[in-house]
């Protein structure tokens, strides 16, 4: 399974030999058992590479699961909340999957690679759940996390970079589309997907060609100011564009120990991913009931006054606590202080005014700020170039 293991407890991704010298700060973190850089040089500079030029992120540790077989579509339709039959071949769909109680296990993407052939990409490790779910279906489920190396290439000049690398016609690829290119004797799969909310692509390749891909990419991208970025910069970008992260903005239901700590898709603002018209899928029964009886919580994106990120803040209404912040960041491009909050119903309607109780310290001196905030209707960063096809050259 793990074909690039070594004696160390934390695994190295196929790009490690390139990342290590690039990681000037030598600042490392872990992601699902892999060594990954938190930051290479400077978080803000890396963030601005995503927003202004091209940023590159190694997403090889992302859980990847292949689903092949005559029942692949039926299997996925039982597994996830959205209608998988609407994800055409060479297309990608974002979705969530729930347990029987309608509580979110994870969010992720489904790649429709070919007839009866799909790949699920997920943050959390999911193989047990996927295998349990396969009982009764004629499908083969394989974990291929270590078998596919992946890079996210994100930012306004990402398309130009990849065109320069020789991916002819890539600018014609629509958002959530998949295209294949010959690359160094193997096949390079490119999807127009990402976790930054910007124009961007994800590159999927055999691990043996990973280093070569990195080298060619950075060579081609040099004129476009390409720069690798770590998880800290990604965090700013994803909060700015309103993407949830499993384990941060919700507890994957299988990992939740305490009753009531997990969340339904409705409670995470993901109603649009739930197709209750489908006759059967995991959690449908519970979600129908929740729909009828009302949710416990509501997800809200808050615009917080001031520039102090509302990390871990309580959210107050008339002095009473009505929620908590799960993610927060000062978002430089949108120039907004954003916080994701879980609010008790009925709070969280668009436009509602609340107060964030922010604690911060200066030289061991703790201070509390009661920052007014307001529920936003949409994420603060959503540039047209994200969707334009052909991709606009920068």
């Amino acid at each position: 399974m793990n074909n690039h293991s070594d004696a160390r407890m934390l695994l190295r991704t196929p790009f490690h030999s390139r990342i290590e010298p690039a990681c000037e700060l030598n600042c490392w973190g872990t992601w699902k058992g892999y060594t990954t850089p938190n930051a290479y040089t400077d978080v803000e500079l890396e963030y601005f590479a995503i927003r202004s030029t091209t940023g590159v992120f190694d997403l090889s540790p992302m859980g990847k699961y292949r689903v092949i077989g005559p029942d692949a579509e039926a299997y996925l339709n039982r597994l996830v909340t959205r209608d998988v039959s609407k994800i055409r071949e060479k297309r990608v769909g974002y979705t969530v999957w729930c347990d029987d109680d309608g509580q979110v296990l994870d969010d992720g993407t489904i790649f429709h690679l070919g007839p009866n052939d799909y790949r699920i990409c997920a943050y959390a490790r999911a193989i047990d759940w996927l295998l349990w779910s396969a009982m009764g279906f004629d499908v083969d489920i394989q974990e291929e996390t270590a078998d596919v190396a992946a890079l996210a290439v994100q930012g306004p000049t990402s398309c130009s970079t990849l065109l320069a690398m020789g991916l002819d016609g890539l600018d014609q690829l629509k958002p959530f589309g998949i295209e294949y290119f010959a690359f160094e004797g193997t096949e390079l799969m490119v999807s127009r997907t990402g976790f930054t909310g910007d124009l961007g692509y994800e590159l999927w390749i055999d691990p043996s060609k990973a280093e070569c891909l990195w080298d060619r990419l950075f060579e081609a991208g040099a004129p476009y100011l390409i720069k690798p970025f770590g998880t800290d910069a990604l965090e700013m970008a994803r909060v700015e564009t309103g993407f949830l992260q499993a384990g941060v903005d919700f507890v994957p239901a299988e990992e939740a120990v305490r009753r009531g700590r997990s969340r339904s898709p409705f409670e995470l603002g993901l109603d649009w991913l739930v197709d209750l018209e489908k006759p059967l899928f995991n959690g449908r029964r519970a979600l129908l009931q929740e729909k009828a009886e009302g949710s416990r919580y509501r997800f809200a994106i808050l615009d917080v006054e001031g520039n102090k990120p509302a990390h871990n803040s309580f959210i107050l209404k008339n002095g009473k606590q009505v929620g908590t912040v799960t993610s927060a960041a000062w978002c430089p491009t949108a120039k907004t202080n954003v916080a994701f909050a879980q609010l008790q119903m009925p709070h969280g309607a668009v436009g509602e005014e609340l107060v964030a109780e922010i604690y911060y310290q200066r030289e061991l001196h703790w201070t509390k700020v009661l920052a007014p905030c307001k529920v936003l209707a949409a994420p603060v960063f959503d540039p047209p170039r994200r969707r334009q096809t052909p991709a606009v050259p920068f």
Partner: protein, 521 residues
């Protein structure tokens, strides 16, 4: 368009108890049975020309008196051929141990053993009575409990408290341990210990040292709470129970169709809409009640792909490995057991000389092998009910044989003959010459019991009766009191609370739940 209010899949005894109650409550009920007769495991069939036998269960010992009364079974043809039979633990040397009611005799039993047994039996009786309180009602949910569930828990808790400090702590102490240790604490006599521990392991995949055997023993002792002072035999075999229940159902307006196998339970958008028969015929109904075991119901009839993953995971984890085979012999004459008085032959005869013997018998099945020296629970029903044999003086021997694996390495094939030979050799030691009397024989392996009676794994309780699979944990944790994750589909068989054995409470409880839910069922 629905053709019936309720379709009942399977005419087992629990299914018919359920059908009867539902019909009495005004429902239009159709029972669909794969075989050509009612009864399920309560069935008598000819296994050799002129010789009939109770083909699955062989004794009646815990049928609920409320079922007897409500279904007026005696009015519908049920006749006891013998009641309150003794249990005789056979000795090769003929010095047999006899347990009749609570009286022990033979085999050098002394007054100390007798006194210890009375004390033990009385205590177990108090425990079983407490258990019985929870058996006649649905298992309470622990989390979202409502008033009636709370009452059940309160009654149980109160009952536990009323046992008194010593009994209560003793029950808590022993219920999760094993018969071997409990027997060692209480008795000296090896065969007495083996005889009693056998009651904790019959029908299960457990030996005397397995946890949960004390629970199994107490479960069996429910029979005494229900007025059985030992095992009983029905005239015509246990098929008479099936037949009388079917007659009672018919008089209550229940319709039956035999020889129709349900191929699938149809669902739409999470609700059962009816069934499809093998051959393609569809029958619609407002409710479907399955008397089949939970694995058959969910995996084969509903289909895992029509259920949510969590349910599939739970169902596939149900422990339903059996270790039981069934032996049927047609005999040209009554076998003579060493030193056994003629008037005792019609009782329950047991071969289990000591607990280690039984434990070794169990060892084999852990490794998918059959016992080289199996434990036998023998009935010669023709002593009390001569009509089961072809001619006067001829006899039928029926025995529960433990242990046999579901499938030995390489399949049953030649192993069947070999295992039969082992069993006959064992019988021969206690009843010399019995081989010469054998006119015909039949050995049903767990696989045979599975295919003939539709019980997954051949498990006669539709899933092991152990603390992890009883009450609100039966058939799995989070189960919804006879309802299932498919709206409009209910379970009523041994796989739901309180479990198997020819008791009938699961079916009755299921019917009460369905009726109680009214329109929302």
């Amino acid at each position: 368009m629905t053709d019936y209010d309720v379709l009942l899949v399977g005419a087992g005894h629990n299914g018919m108890v359920c059908a009867h109650s539902l019909a009495k409550a005004g429902k239009k009920v159709l029972v669909l049975e794969r075989m050509n007769h009612p009864g399920g495991c309560a069935h008598t069939r000819e296994f050799a020309p002129g010789f009939s036998v109770s083909s699955c269960a062989q004794w009646l010992y815990q049928l609920s008196p409320s079922v007897m009364r409500d279904m007026q079974l005696e009015k519908h043809g049920l006749i006891f051929a013998a009641r309150d039979l003794a249990s005789v633990s056979l000795a090769e040397d003929g010095d047999h141990l006899v347990l009749k009611g609570t009286t022990l005799s033979g085999a050098g039993i002394g007054p100390e053993d007798q006194a210890a047994y009375i004390e033990f039996a009385n205590k177990m009786q108090r425990f079983s009575k407490l258990m019985a309180k929870a058996f006649g009602v649905r298992a309470p949910k622990l989390v979202e409990s409502n008033i009636s569930d709370r009452m059940t828990l309160i009654k149980l808790g109160l009952g536990l408290k009323l046992l008194g400090k010593d009994d209560m702590s003793d029950l808590m102490r022993i219920v999760l341990i094993n018969m071997y240790d409990v027997m060692e604490e209480n008795f000296e006599h090896p065969r007495l210990k083996a005889l009693l521990s056998l009651d904790g392991m019959l029908g299960s995949h457990m030996g005397p040292r397995s946890p949960n055997t004390v629970f199994g023993y107490l479960y069996r002792r429910i029979g005494e709470v229900f007025g059985f002072n030992g095992v009983a035999q029905l005239k015509g075999g246990l098929g008479a129970l099936g037949e009388s229940m079917a007659a009672s159902c018919r008089s209550a307006g229940v319709e039956f169709r035999y020889g129709v196998a349900v191929a699938g339970i149809n669902t739409h958008a999470g609700r059962a809409t009816g069934v499809t028969l093998e051959g393609g015929e569809q029958i619609n109904a407002g409710l479907v009640v399955s008397n089949a075991d939970p694995v058959t119901t969910f995996e084969r009839l509903v289909g895992y792909r029509n259920l949510e993953t969590g349910v599939v995971r739970k169902v596939s984890n149900i422990r339903n490995k059996s270790g039981v085979a069934k032996l049927h012999l047609a005999l040209s004459a009554l076998p003579e057991f060493n030193g056994l008085a003629k008037d005792l032959v019609g009782n329950r005869l047991v071969i289990a000389p000591d607990m280690n013997y039984a434990e070794r018998a169990f060892n084999a099945v852990k490794y998918h092998e059959y016992s080289e020296a199996p434990v036998l629970d023998i009935s010669i029903p023709t002593v009390n009910d001569p009509g089961l044999a072809a001619a006067d003086g001829q006899h039928v021997l029926s025995a529960i044989v433990q242990f046999a694996p579901y499938e030995p390495a390489g399949g049953w094939g030649d192993h069947r003959e070999r295992f039969l030979d082992i069993i006959l050799s064992q019988l021969e030691r206690y009843a010399p010459g019995i081989r010469q009397l054998v006119l015909a024989s039949e050995l049903l392996t767990p696989q045979d019991l599975e295919s003939e009676f539709g019980m997954t794994g051949g498990h006669w309780h539709h899933g092991e009766l152990s603390m992890d699979q009883v009450m609100m944990m039966r058939p799995f944790a989070g189960a919804n009191q006879y309802a299932t994750p498919v709206d409009g589909l209910y379970l009523c068989g041994a796989g739901v609370h309180p479990g198997g054995g020819l008791m009938g409470l699961a079916g009755g409880n299921a019917a009460r739940e369905i009726i109680g839910r009214g329109e929302s069922a």
